[in-house]
Amino acid sequence: MSDPNSQKEDSSNHPTHPEGKKDNSRRFFLARLGLGSTLLALAVQAYAFMRSLVPNVLYEGPKRFKIGLPTQFGEGARFLEEKRVYIFRERNTFYAISAVCTHLGCTVKMQRLNQPKKVSFGGRQFEEQAEFHCRGHWVITNWSYPRMMGN
């Protein structure tokens, strides 16, 4: 064990002492090497800690999933609650539209209109038969049910 009485830990002998001369001695080099290695080791540990907080595996449901057979869907709309998606069928055409509101993520509710509305979108005319209402924020969106008119 070191004898404290024989040690002189005077800061002026420190190799990086600002009032002393910065030298290229072995001691200075090794001191810098030791400091650098320690800082590198601490940086690697800090990275490991931070990286561990970024998930590698998510236990959320899959983004692609099967909803069933075509025969299970009649004409019109059907809401799949656990998937938060509306399925529309028009004869042999199927549409799947997310019920997650693009505003702040609420689940929207489809409201059929008593009288269809005529809307213009992208230079074309559409007939709006239903709207999607966000009950949380009173946002009405009709984006998600484009229904081309006529021709």
Partner: protein, 438 residues
Amino acid sequence: MPTKQTAWQKIKWTWQPSSEREAGDSIVRNFLLHWFPAKITKQSLSWSYSFWLGTISVALFLILTLTGVVLMFLYVPSVERAYLSVKDLEFVVSFGWFIRGLHRISAHLMVAAVFLHMIRVFLTGAYKNGTAASQNRPLNWIVGVMLLLVTLFLSFTGYLLPWDQLAYWAITVGTNIASAAPIAGEWMRFLLLGGSVIDQNTLLRFYVLHCFFLPLIVLFFFSYHMWRVRKDGGLACVDQLALTQKEGKAAPIKSKTYSLLGITRGTTVHVETSLMDEDHHTVQSSPNVTRRIAAVMIGTLLLTSLLAVLFRAPLEEPATPSITPNPAKAPWYFLWLQELVSDTTFHIGSVTINGALLGGVLLPGILILWLVLWPYFDKSPVQAVGVWLAGERKKQNLVFLIVILCVVIFTIVGTFMRGPYWDLYWPWQAWPEVPRKL
């Protein structure tokens, strides 16, 4: 101080003072450094006096806090998900196995470090007051014993969290030993478990105790512990230094007169000091103490990291109340208690003398009481303060060491020599195959 400083110099000058004046100034001007005295005796810095066990304990606590905070983001304290979240930590989370291993190794080492620190303080008589006024080292010793108990409880509460067979049955054994306490035992167990069985309530209570309440209590006691060390004049070896100094008259010196509003300059009533050659015995805290603390902390982190890589944290099968491991053991730091319990359980005819009460509650209770009160029964002279294995304290050191040896022996027997059905086996002896389910 140089008149023009770069930003880097402004940051680092307190950690690397370039003159005596800067070194003294840095203690006052740096928020972290004001914790320390401006000057410290060389004896206090000695590796062989204290082994810096207190600082090692603090370093381990810091590692535990940092790794613990990260683990809190990843662990789920629910009986259905706890085990799976720990499994995720081991196999899915990047570096999760390392963080968990570091946390576990640091926990075990902290129990050992605090225990060794207590032994060192006893053997150096550092719980005794020296010659300085208004010292109260016996009180600080009691605070230290409280810190030891809280450390053990912290480790115990953390032991349950993986919710595997090792965790579940260790806590079953530990809480059942504690329930043998007279009058309040069953009620304490009920309160701790949040019920009669170890289930969701228990897991949540242990989690909150482990992550919030107990660390808070440690911080409180530790702050007071360090404040008391400063108030008592530093480590006990400093008192030895004061005793060996010769008293002598000194010329009146310029000193400070403290008034109600502040500090004024000028000469005042001359005060004799017993520490005549302070310059010979003391060094500046910045950078001497700061460097050693940094070295101890980095060394502790290095050792725990290496051990975490070499010895992976175990994860047994998920906790199953219907299957008891054979043998079922308490955590290693309570195995001496479990060994005492088994050794103090007697059958006399049809009567069973309860070992849990005798060996699990009364004996350790007496030991803790003895520990707490011992400084007040120690009548050894002040010359024995801060001296390793002082001759004046030979008998008490011997008794203490015998007790410690017994604790260590019981721990070793419980860890390495108890096999199925709690039978004795040599450490190299193979255990017999036992049925999993009775």
